[in-house]
């Protein structure tokens, strides 16, 4: 801790604290690997992997109770009502945008060619941008700068696969999720292990 932190620094540290243990990246990485692998094999089945999100939270909370709270203490960050309202609005706009682009390409190029153009060339960068929103938000609003790296990777891979004709649309999306997920998992595990090593458990009552 610096000698005299400013109030803004204190606020920033509190916001960062939720992500300092790397666990969010571990679980996001695991989810992306599962989602990406299923998406490459069978895009229609990948919807089921969304169910994993509901399983992740209780497991994450249990691990935090066991490993994190005895070391750094418990905190529940106040949610900004504007942020809560913004999530479904931004998500909805992107899905609508995706449908509109699919519709337009089919109208302009015909059903077969339009679908192929959309799936192979337009969908991967659009999904890349969509996937980048979460880590970008983490970097901007929670001051976790490595979020910019995850966001950049999503966008970069989203554009790179179609440009270099590496994979078809579904496979490109699946592969980029798997690759970014693997990078997140490794980074998250490293941060978690370091966090546990550097922060010993505080014995006794965590109170006054």
């Amino acid at each position: 801790m610096s000698e005299s932190p400013t109030l803004n620094e204190i606020e920033r540290r509190v916001l960062q604290s939720v992500y300092q243990d790397g666990l969010v990246e571990v679980f996001a990485g695991l989810f992306l690997i599962v989602f990406g692998t299923i998406f490459q094999a069978n895009a229609k089945l990948s919807g089921f992997s969304v169910l994993l999100i509901f399983a992740i939270y209780p497991v994450l909370e249990r691990i935090k109770q066991r490993w994190i709270y005895p070391r750094s203490g418990y905190v529940n960050i106040r949610q900004d009502p504007k942020e809560i309202r913004g999530i479904p609005i931004v998500g909805g706009l992107f899905v609508l945008g995706l449908i509109a682009i699919l519709f337009l390409t089919i109208q302009l190029r015909g059903v077969v060619a339009g679908r192929a153009l959309f799936l192979d060339y337009l969908m991967p960068p659009i999904v890349g941008i969509l996937m980048a929103i979460g880590p970008w938000w983490m970097a901007k609003e929670r001051y976790i700068r490595r979020g910019y790296i995850w966001a950049a990777l999503f966008v970069l891979l989203g554009f790179a696969f179609p440009i270099f004709h590496v994979r078809g649309g579904y496979e490109a999306v699946g592969l980029s999720c798997t690759l970014v997920g693997a990078a997140m998992l490794v980074t998250g595990m490293t941060i978690f292990v370091n966090f546990v090593r550097q922060n010993p458990v505080q014995e006794g009552d965590h109170g006054a």
Partner: protein, 106 residues
């Protein structure tokens, strides 16, 4: 406004500063709790760098002023002291920051 009355109003503004919050340790505690919906004793201690005894005594003063709420609970077998800002604490904190901003800018 006449110079005398301007000086008087500046002095009055200084005198009106909330001294409960103005103390640096308590200001740090309030800042942590303003960002957090709730936080336990250990978290606030780590974020502010205060010692256990120091935090405890400042916590009591803030609780007496009605600015924070302190709740003791158990998580499994481990006791936990949970702190949160009350609505009057939140109002007082925001008013303090605004007042300080105005004083520094005037």
């Amino acid at each position: 406004m006449a110079p005398d009355s301007m000086a008087n109003s500046s002095i009055q503004a200084f005198m009106d500063i909330d001294r409960t919050i103005h103390e640096p340790a308590r200001l740090m505690i309030m800042t942590v709790l303003e960002v957090a919906e709730s936080a336990d004793f250990l978290f606030v201690m780590k974020q502010t760098g205060l010692t256990r005894g120091n935090l405890s005594s400042h916590m009591s003063k803030l609780e007496e002023a009605g600015y924070i709420e302190v709740k003791k609970e158990f998580v499994g077998k481990i006791p936990r002291t949970l702190l949160r800002l009350t609505s009057s604490g939140e109002k007082a904190y925001n008013a303090y920051r605004e007042q300080m901003r105005q004083l520094l800018e005037s």
